[in-house]
């Protein structure tokens, strides 16, 4: 059974990451006029003809050890300095990377990966099956204390019969194993790795790592894919947003992970800034969640009415960027159905439904939300949308850590953002809708209990990738969209802001913050 779906620390940690990102990114920084390109930027590293990309973020990177990296920037750095068996293309499709191909045994419990012949670490050591074996064993070892351990708990044995064959045996069939092998935790490592200085297997290698201050990456000469990309990447950590902006204007910084709130509206409304911005939808659904065991949300018709009262387009307008959600699943999971269409706001119909439901306004529902200003704006709109049809809601803005605890602890309703650890519908849906995950502090905060959905999720989980699996998840989603324990609002869109001479910046639907593939003129 795929343990990552249980209510362990996992879905929580990425959700934390997601929400933090969402709190910060729609706000990031804008620059003066885009200005004069200075060719190469300052930032600690330089050299004639060498191209240096300097990035500034308000966040920190806590670790560059593949077994430990889990926050946004640690993951982005490990992603840049490693390759894994598989990767994702720009459409979030799983593609082979260090594995040429792989096959599954008929019982679904054994995966055999065949490695590419001439992959090398940055120090010239050939990358072999044993290096993946060490990585997985290390993540699984409780001594390591890896935040990714649960993802690999379903693996009973990893074997390396020869240099180019890796055999992974599972306790139970799990069609998402390739996804798990694509996470940065499973990047190949050499024996006795130095957690501060892992040997690179990817397009970049670590030059310096000063946690909380600066990270410098330089190109790995053994990785040919990086040809044309910038030679060095300097990541300035803990740079406050207003300062980010100043540094970008002065040419000290080339790329920002977002545009700060104070500048967002101006930059996005300035046509001359068009080429300095990259935006992309990522796998994250913002939603209004309700506890289906609390009045008035225990009445399905009240939920339907509430959904009809919501103006999802307004959520996007006030967030600045995003895409109206017409499903619960985000766009980059295989079971996502782009043809779905949810009804638009219809206040008259909503009122009528409420009347039919025999609804009378009772105690105010308390809506939990994180107290950042951006969050609040969107939650206020939900509140006023619901007030317009006569459902009173009280906002409870609290610090993010209180919020995470609070909404899982028998709350009435909450404003939430959720994303999967990797592009898979089960990884997204099971923690939050399977009845097994109901309970104080657990992820099914809606207290949603539907045996039909439970069965579909359990069946889909062991069905191999393909149409049948997709169909099962879509059936589950059909029911969820009818029952509406979550009212999907919109999909998160991230924004990057960069100087005129920077090219190739993308928002990756899976990796989000990506340092690879960037060029400079």
């Amino acid at each position: 059974m795929s343990l990552r779906m249980h209510s362990g620390p996992f879905p929580l940690a990425p959700a934390l990451r997601a929400l933090l990102l969402a709190g910060i990114l729609p706000l990031a920084v804008g620059c003066g006029g885009g200005g004069e390109s200075t060719g190469s930027s300052a930032g600690g590293a330089g050299g004639s003809g060498e191209q240096v990309l300097t990035v500034a973020t308000a966040e920190v990177a806590s670790s560059v050890d593949p077994a430990m990296a889990f926050d946004t920037w640690s993951t982005a750095i490990v992603h840049a300095v490693t390759r894994r068996l598989v990767d994702y293309d720009q459409d979030a499709k799983l593609i082979p990377d260090l594995a040429e191909r792989w096959e599954t045994s008929s019982d679904g419990k054994t995966y055999t990966f065949h490695l590419k012949p001439d992959a090398k670490f940055a120090d010239g050591t050939p990358i072999e099956a044993k290096h993946f074996q060490s990585a997985i064993r290390r993540v699984q070892d409780p001594e390591t204390g890896s935040p990714g351990a649960d993802f690999y708990a379903g693996i009973s044995e990893v074997e390396a019969p020869d240099a180019r064959t890796l055999v992974v045996k599972l306790k139970a069939p799990d069609p998402t194993l390739p996804n798990v092998m694509g996470m940065t935790f499973a990047a190949p490592i050499q024996e006795n790795p130095d957690p501060m200085r892992p040997v690179s297997s990817g397009p970049y290698q670590l030059e310096t790592f000063e946690p909380g201050s600066q990270v410098v990456l330089k190109k790995n000469p053994n990785d040919t894919a990086a040809a044309g990309w910038v030679d060095r990447i300097v990541i300035q950590l803990k740079v406050e947003e207003p300062l980010q902006m100043t540094r970008l204007r002065n040419g000290e910084v080339d790329l920002l992970p977002g545009i700060p709130p104070a500048e967002y509206a101006r930059v996005m409304n300035d046509p001359s800034e068009k080429d300095n911005v990259a935006q992309g939808v990522v796998n994250q659904t913002w939603y209004f969640g309700v506890n289906v065991t609390h009045a008035p949300w225990d009445n399905p018709r009240v939920r339907e009415a509430a959904f009809l009262a919501l103006n999802r387009a307004n959520q996007v307008s006030v967030a600045g960027a995003g895409q109206v959600a017409n499903a619960i699943l985000p766009p980059y999971v295989p079971a996502y159905d782009a043809s779905r269409k949810l009804p638009d706001q219809n206040v008259a119909r909503a009122k009528q439904l409420l009347q039919e439901a025999g609804y009378t306004p009772g105690k105010k529902s308390v809506m939990w939300l994180s107290n950042s200003a951006v969050y609040q704006r969107r939650a206020e709109l939900i509140q006023s949308d619901l007030a317009a049809i006569g459902i009173p809601v009280e906002l409870r803005p609290v610090t993010f850590s209180e919020y995470r605890k609070g909404y899982r602890n028998d709350a009435d309703c909450w404003y939430g953002g959720w994303y999967p650890d990797f592009p898979d519908a089960g990884n997204f849906l099971e923690p939050v809708f399977h009845s097994r995950n109901i309970g104080p502090g657990k992820n099914n905060a809606a207290h949603y209990r539907n045996p039909q959905v439970d069965t579909l999720l359990e069946k889909a989980r062991i069905t191999p990738p393909g149409d049948e699996r997709i169909a099962l998840y879509r059936q589950a989603e059909d029911i969820l969209l009818k029952d509406l324990p979550w009212m999907p609002l919109y999909y998160e869109m991230e924004t990057r802001y960069f100087r005129d001479n920077v090219e190739g910046v993308v928002v990756h639907p899976v990796w989000r913050q990506m340092l690879t593939g960037i060029r400079k003129q």
Partner: protein, 283 residues
């Protein structure tokens, strides 16, 4: 107090005092009658206005709308009600507590004085806004009442010091000694001979303190630990305006002006009252 005793020169009206009083009274009336004065519901978006970017002033929305299509004027008017209730409520608590501590310390002197004044020093030693932030963060629920409590409990120290020194000098007056020698109780001396003479100072301190508490309330809302959203506090309006200052600079002007005028009016009143009093004392 008996107004007929006031000498002819002190009767001269100070235009600044009148201005301050008019402004303060006007603001208080605005707050009291907010639901009748405000043209729109301060919490509901105007469905005719698109949500997203703030809209500039128009004939329908005299001060424009915010990013959620809510009428800024209505929010400002309701904001007066919130700011003034919190400000005045906290002032009453602060001045009440300050008077109590100050008078007791000044009157009894000795160990009571030492104890109370060291307590005052301790509270004063912390920057007020830090204390308020910490208190507002740990509160299980934030609303106007808890905010009054937080601000009031932090802002009493200045009043305590002033009233202590006033009391120290008052208790040495001949009439107090006379009352004491005739066997009057402490309670009677405090109620009949000390407190009434503190009244002019009380007015000044109350006025100053109101300006301070309103400013602190605005500051806390700006830091997002005031009365929670969607309450139309001036501080939260400023916070909201911050994101849009480059495209909708007017959004920050209105709440900023409101805080400025309110604080200025109470400060003016305090300033003028103090001037009159010191002139009266000399004369």
């Amino acid at each position: 107090m008996d107004g007929s005793e006031v000498g002819p020169e002190r009767k001269r009206r100070s235009p600044l005092l009148v201005f301050g009083l008019l402004l303060a009274v006007g603001l208080i009336l605005t707050g009291v009658f907010a639901p009748w004065l405000a043209p729109y519901d301060p919490l509901q978006p105007d469905p005719r206005v698109p949500v997203g970017l703030p809209a500039p002033p128009s004939s329908q929305h005299l001060l424009g709308t915010d990013s959620r299509a809510r009428d800024v004027l209505s929010r400002l008017i309701h904001g007066a009600r919130l700011s003034l209730s919190v400000g005045l409520g906290a002032m009453v608590l602060a001045v009440g507590l300050g008077t109590l501590v100050g008078v007791l310390a000044g009157y009894f002197r000795g160990s009571v004085d030492v104890l109370l004044m060291r307590l005052t020093d301790v509270v004063m030693a912390f920057p007020a806004i830090l204390l308020a932030l910490a208190a507002a963060t740990v509160l299980p629920q934030r609303n106007a009442w808890t905010l009054i409590l937080v601000i009031g409990l932090i802002s009493w120290t200045a009043a305590a010091r002033i009233f202590r020194s006033e009391t120290l000098s008052l208790r040495e007056r001949v009439y107090v000694e006379a009352a004491r020698s005739m066997g009057a109780s402490h309670g009677r001396i405090l109620a009949r001979h000390i407190l009434p003479h503190l009244l002019p100072t009380l007015l000044v301190v109350a006025s100053l303190s109101t300006a301070a508490t309103i400013l602190m309330d605005a500051g806390l809302s700006f830091l997002n630990v005031g009365v929670p959203a969607p309450a139309p506090t001036w501080g939260s309006m400023l916070l909201d305006a911050q994101q849009y200052y480059s495209v909708a600079p007017w959004l920050a002007v209105w709440p900023g002006l409101a805080v400025l005028l309110t604080v200025a009016s109470f400060n003016l009143i305090a300033f003028e009252l103090r001037r009159r009093e010191s002139r009266g004392a000399k004369g």
